[in-house]
């Protein structure tokens, strides 16, 4: 489930070289590729917001929210957060934080296997995001004060403070969207020509359906580099048309 970086590069070159418009070097391509990938990737979140406000449909493959979620799910992952004494910090490859989860451990007694056996139960509960000024009020009200079964967190540049019955120091993890890997078209020189090196290359992580969009976006960037405003305009126009068709 990835888009081959070589396929995209070859297509870009093929389209760009038609009528001898110019050439994009691998270094330039790699820069454009990641710019295009991030551009497409970031747009997912705004599209979900947009389509979330519209009534969906019940079709199996064409509900826009389902399509977008499928594209984003590729990057969705979870990992334990690390505690640094006061603050929790997120994994290094975090792009957008989703849900912080606390493993709330409770004990109870059970009849099995022998009477009064102490049983430990771990329940995963969502840690709710609140602003610091809200925390001051929430923490003072007995009705809203955070508990281990209803924890909250406050984020700052220093990290995340997670509060349950007391500041939580263990058992916190997060569900998040990771940053897309940097796409790279690697090569080795053979007889003066750059030949594709699959072992050193990194494919795009985007959903395969984004291949066309990647090519168009990279072409638009390439059009600027080779000073072919026509290429830029055509690529932008196609991109706009696709957007309009998808979103109307």
């Amino acid at each position: 489930m990835a888009v081959s970086v070589d396929t995209v590069y070859q297509r870009v070159l093929a389209i760009l070289n038609k009528e001898q418009r110019g050439y994009v070097t691998p270094q330039e391509f790699n820069l454009f590729a990641n710019q295009a990938q991030l551009d497409i990737f970031e747009q997912y979140f705004y599209d979900i917001n947009q389509f979330g406000r519209m009534p969906g449909n019940d079709t199996e493959f064409s509900d826009m929210l389902n399509i977008l979620n499928e594209k984003i799910n590729i990057f969705e992952t979870n990992a334990a957060m690390t505690y640094g004494g006061v603050y929790w910090s997120t994994p290094a490859n975090l792009y957008r934080l989703g849900t912080i989860v606390f493993d709330n451990i409770t004990t109870s007694k059970s009849l099995y296997p022998v009477p009064n056996t102490v049983v430990t139960t771990t329940t995963q509960v969502e840690v709710e995001r609140i602003n610091y000024n809200e925390f001051l009020y929430i923490n003072q009200s007995l009705l809203t004060k955070p508990t281990n079964s209803r924890p909250v967190f406050v984020a700052s540049t220093l990290g995340y403070k997670v509060y349950g019955d007391a500041p939580l120091v263990i058992g916190v993890s997060c569900n998040y969207i990771k940053e897309p890997s940097q796409a790279a078209w690697a090569y080795q020189m053979v007889f003066g020509e750059a030949l594709y090196n699959a072992n050193e290359s990194t494919d795009f992580e985007l959903h395969p359906s984004e291949e066309t969009e990647l090519v168009i976006k990279i072409l638009a960037f390439a059009g600027l580099v080779v000073k072919d405003i026509g290429m830029y305009q055509v690529a932008s126009q196609i991109s706009a048309q696709t957007n309009q068709q998808e979103k109307s």
Partner: protein, 306 residues
């Protein structure tokens, strides 16, 4: 998944495997916890394509607890009670989670609870110390108050058991000036029904947080039935299943009515839904059983002679 998560052996014997040893949760199936209500609300009422697209769980928890408080006052059945033997000081300390009382009674030898009625004819005011000229006295810029008001002293002046001891007869106004029933007895213009009972009286001394009894209650076993707000402890934070729908609708209405940009007709709709659900819950929880009602209605054929 079925709602019962214990097998019969676990339910009846509890974790210690001993019948009725106090660690069982007999009858807990009729209740649902506040945590379940909050989780169910978040699932069923919050999200995309729903009226409440986003809400903080803290807000839901707040409104859920407020719902339990409100419902505890007039919808949920009161199930709190405390029994004590009235001390010589003729008072009972209000329970820790007391909000208001529903009934106060003393228990006779047969275990029957006799209702003790509240009186408004006495109280325990703050008593100011005065000098010989009747002027108020001060210390550290504050009024000097007496340890006990004269009103209370006189109310409690029936300091010894009346003749016949507790439960006995031969009361008189000298020994028991606080017994209002004695004043009412044989009144010239007809008895005052409010005082026409011999179970004793009480009033609530809110300043000191105690219930004060008339002297005929001294030494008796007294039971206070009261309502709390349902939030005193985690174990209390449950709602009867009959009222679950009403609590959920109450939460939805509370959230929508305090939110900006919600059309008023939606707020009004939820207000009606919450109100109707609350009424239904009240009826369901009022224990109206057909057989009991028919027993009561059999009274209608009784002849009343004047």
């Amino acid at each position: 998944m079925a709602l019962i998560n214990q097998n019969p052996e676990e339910y009846y014997l509890g974790p210690d495997g001993v019948w009725d040893s106090g660690d069982e949760s007999y009858g807990n199936y009729q209740f649902v916890s506040i945590a379940d209500i909050i989780n169910n609300f978040m699932i069923s009422h919050v999200g995309q394509d729903k009226l409440i697209t986003k809400v903080r769980r803290t807000d839901v928890a707040y409104w859920a607890q407020r719902a339990i408080q409100e419902f505890s006052f007039d919808v949920l059945p009161q199930n709190k009670s405390i029994e004590i033997e009235v001390p010589p000081g003729l008072y009972m300390v209000l329970p820790q989670d007391y909000v208001n009382y529903t009934k106060l009674s003393w228990t006779d030898k047969g275990g029957i609870e006799r209702i003790i009625y509240r009186t408004d004819l006495s109280s325990n005011p703050e008593a100011v110390t005065q000098n010989a000229a009747g002027e108020y006295t001060f210390a550290n810029k504050k009024l000097i108050l007496k340890a006990q008001s004269e009103t209370l002293t006189r109310w409690n002046s029936g300091s010894s058991f009346p003749l016949g001891g507790p439960g006995g007869g031969n009361w008189d106004l000298t020994n028991n000036p606080d017994l209002l029933s004695l004043y009412a007895y044989g009144g010239r213009f007809g008895i005052d029904p409010e005082n026409a009972q011999s179970n004793g009286t009480f009033y609530i001394d809110q300043v000191n947080g105690v219930i004060r009894f008339s002297s005929d209650i001294r030494g008796r076993i007294v039971t206070l039935k009261y309502i709390s707000d349902g939030l005193g402890s985690l174990e209390d934070m449950t709602v009867h299943k009959f009222a679950m729908d009403a609590v959920v609708k109450h939460i939805a209405y509370s959230i929508l009515s305090t939110r900006s940009n919600v059309q008023e007709y939606i707020v009004a709709r939820f207000k009606k839904m919450a109100s109707a659900a609350r009424r239904n819950a009240k009826i369901r929880l009022s224990e109206l059983k057909a057989d009991l009602m028919s027993q009561v209605f059999r009274n209608q054929s009784k002849w009343i002679k004047h």
